[in-house]
Amino acid sequence: MFNRLIRANGRHRTIEGWPLVFTILTAGAILVGTVVEFAPIFLVGGATPALAGVHPPTPLELVGRDLYIAEGCNNCHSQMVRPFRQEEIRYGPYSRAGETVYETPHLWGSKRTGPDLARVGGKYPDLWHVRHMENPRSTSPASIMPKYAHMLRKPLRLDDLPGKMRGLRALGLPYTDAEIENAVALAQAQADSMAAGVVEQGGPDRLADKQIIAITAYLQSLRADWADVQTAADSPRLGAEAEEVAHATD
């Protein structure tokens, strides 16, 4: 039967004379896997609940996130801690689906030329990020990261925030009318308070309207706010979950 199909002058030979049929069969072949893999994800996809404490980025963090995208940070930094003991110790609790529900686009990355950033929030003070972006070698002597000194000079652009947030709301991010209307003021307030903090920590003045404040706000937001979980790092004796994780690395 199979031989009848593939032998010289077999049935396949007939199809080779019918480009339209051939094209339809090819399209069918690629659609099977596509449908099988996507149907469940999209049917139940909307049902993946956000973990408690997970919220869309604040207006300033959103600006920072878009700067992170524009600079291509995701080309060298992942944001996806895998469920391995060594990653939980190095970075923090492993990443859950329920904490990525507001990520469009996702920024999980595929390469760690630098460390994972999914849990970098709160790890360093704001001033550290300012210094580090200005010259990575000033905080991490062996770092090979490019300098982002221009972010300390370039002005923050906030005027397009309401438009961006309206678009994101249409895509399912739960921004309220008030948040969207006051987006610029909200961003400015967060930037002012962070910039004041940087000055307090002994850093440079007049950064409130600079890109560096937004990218810092975004990086500081990358944390497991939702997490009430024990990590391998916290626990002297591995919990059941961490044990499972340890097995995965064997």
Binding site: E37, I41, Q86, R96, T104
Partner: protein, 505 residues
């Protein structure tokens, strides 16, 4: 060119004696559009230099951060420019050259529309230039190999549809009843790339330069790697297999090894490849079943991939001695061998236990470069060295220089991948190293960076050699073209009208 043994699958498009054809109404006379192929060949050569030069700059930036030349030329912004230039500009123009040359001959028909061919060529170059401008400006979607923003995405879709109409129109008016295997692979390429590009690029525009994908979180990741993996499959694999099936038998003057194998491996490759995407997301927040399914299909993919390699290499049975004198065949053999290595490595890397070590490391960089430089690069160079003398009707300026290109390129790519294997495995092992007390041996990430810097220097040297080979090719082709005849009329072909079978379906 000596006559090859006749085989059902090899079409000899050589024009019959024109004198015999002229005036005889039993013959149909038409010409092939070779001008468009020349344009695509020239574009391929220029963009290969540009794309790899950017790659070399990136390779220098890693060990020497001072080479991040300001905001617009820093690693994060240039990396997508490098990948887009090599995939869509270099490999893209190469497959268009292959498709426009071989489809006309395999169909015994001129392309459906010269205007569409021109629109395709200039539209595609315009898209590349737009990418080269927007990416350094930081205008990017961040989605890997799909970084271009929505206006450019729409342009890509339009140009691709015109290309598709032009291609299928040519199939429609073909004078050969049966489609040769190369055409099957071109069909799979054109259909699937359209589906992938549109499916992955759906986004909500916010302004002319900014959009957000309609997918979020897990969905966005799965759609992205369905696209990302199958861009490798249907932009860098299937069209190059089509290229192999046409140009390798031509250059070797041998029929393809096995017709049955070509059927079996074509359909299994096309069916299985599309499932493999989620192996890019092993151990991430995507559902476990999806990642496992991706892994299982990736392992299965090994066999249809090697079906292609075997059909290619075995086509040279009884003709291996020709490698000694033919730089074209040398290039093809190294290209197909790298294809075999990369398609063994890919399934292996998709296995979770291996992936746990290799993911996020330079091992992936080695893997993609053995694909892009080893397989796509060498297949393209082989095709160019075979095509240029035919398209410009002038023997290649220097065979010796072409042979130098072959050797310097081969040593270069080997240095590149070996350095990155060493670097990748080193990173993977250092990140997971525990001491006896259960603490990380290298808690400071930069320790693992410093450790691999020597490998980055070796990679830089390897990349430099590969690029030097490309420069030799540029000089060689330039010298050949300069001494070519001024007038290059399209080759005319005559076929007996009796042969002109009406296209069915």
């Amino acid at each position: 060119m000596a006559d090859a043994p006749t085989a059902p699958l090899i079409h000899h498009a050589d024009a019959p004696d024109r004198a015999a054809a002229s005036g005889a109404s039993r013959f149909e006379v038409f010409s092939y559009d070779d001008r468009i192929v020349r344009l695509f060949v020239v574009a391929t050569i220029i963009w290969s230099f540009v794309g790899m030069l950017v790659g070399l700059l990136l390779a220098i930036q890693l060990p020497f951060p001072a080479f991040n030349l300001g905001e617009y030329l820093s690693f994060g912004r240039l990396r997508p420019l490098h990948t887009n230039a090599v995939i869509f500009a270099f490999a893209g123009n190469a497959i268009f050259a292959a498709i426009y040359y071989s489809t006309q001959r395999l169909c015994k028909a001129r392309m459906f529309s010269d205007a569409m061919s021109k629109f395709h060529f200039w539209g595609w170059q315009g898209i590349i230039v737009a990418a080269a401008i927007t990416l350094p400006l930081g205008i990017t979607t961040s989605k890997e190999y799909a970084e271009l923003e929505w206006p450019i995405d729409i342009a890509i879709a339009v140009v691709w549809v015109v290309f598709a109409v032009n291609f299928f129109g040519t199939l429609w008016k073909r004078r050969e009843k049966h489609m040769y295997v190369a055409l099957w692979f071109y069909i799979a390429t054109i259909v699937t790339v359209a589906v992938l590009h549109i499916g992955n690029s759906l986004a909500l525009p916010i302004s002319l330069t900014k959009s957000y994908p309609i997918y979020k979180g897990v969905q966005d990741a799965l759609v992205q790697w369905w696209y990302g993996h199958n861009a490798v499959a249907f932009f860098l694999t299937t069209p190059f297999l089509g290229l192999m099936y046409y140009f390798l038998p031509k250059a070797a003057e041998r029929p393809v090894f096995s017709y049955r194998l070509s059927i079996v491996h074509f359909w299994s490759l096309v069916f299985i490849y599309i499932w493999a995407g989620p192996h890019h997301l092993n151990y991430t927040a995507v559902p476990e079943w999806a990642a496992t399914l991706g892994m299982v299909f990736s392992v299965m993919l090994w066999m249809p991939s090697w079906g292609g390699m075997i059909n290619g290499l075995f086509t040279l049975r009884g003709a291996w001695h020709k490698l000694r004198d033919s730089v074209v065949l040398k290039m093809f053999v190294v290209g197909i061998t790298f294809y075999g290595m990369a398609t063994f490595e890919g399934p292996m890397l998709s296995i979770k236990t291996v992936n746990a070590l290799s993911h996020y490391t330079d091992w992936n960089i080695a893997h993609v470069h053995s694909g892009a430089l080893g397989w796509n690069g060498f297949m393209t160079f082989g095709m160019i060295y075979w095509l240029v003398p035919k398209l410009w009707r002038q023997p290649l300026w220097s065979q010796k220089m072409a042979t130098w290109h072959f050797w310097i390129g081969t040593v270069g790519i080997l240095l590149y991948v070996l350095a990155m294997y060493a670097s990748g495995v080193t990173q993977g092992l250092m990140w997971r190293a525990f001491d006896a007390a259960g603490r990380l041996v290298y808690p400071d990430f930069t320790e693992t960076v410093v450790q691999v810097l020597p490998m980055y220097w070796v990679r830089m040297v390897g990349g430099c050699m590969y690029l030097a080979g490309v420069v030799l090719m540029m000089v060689n082709v330039w010298k050949t073209v300069r001494s070519a005849p001024k007038q290059l009329p399209d080759p005319a072909v005559a076929v007996p009208r009796a042969h002109a079978a009406p296209a069915t379906a």
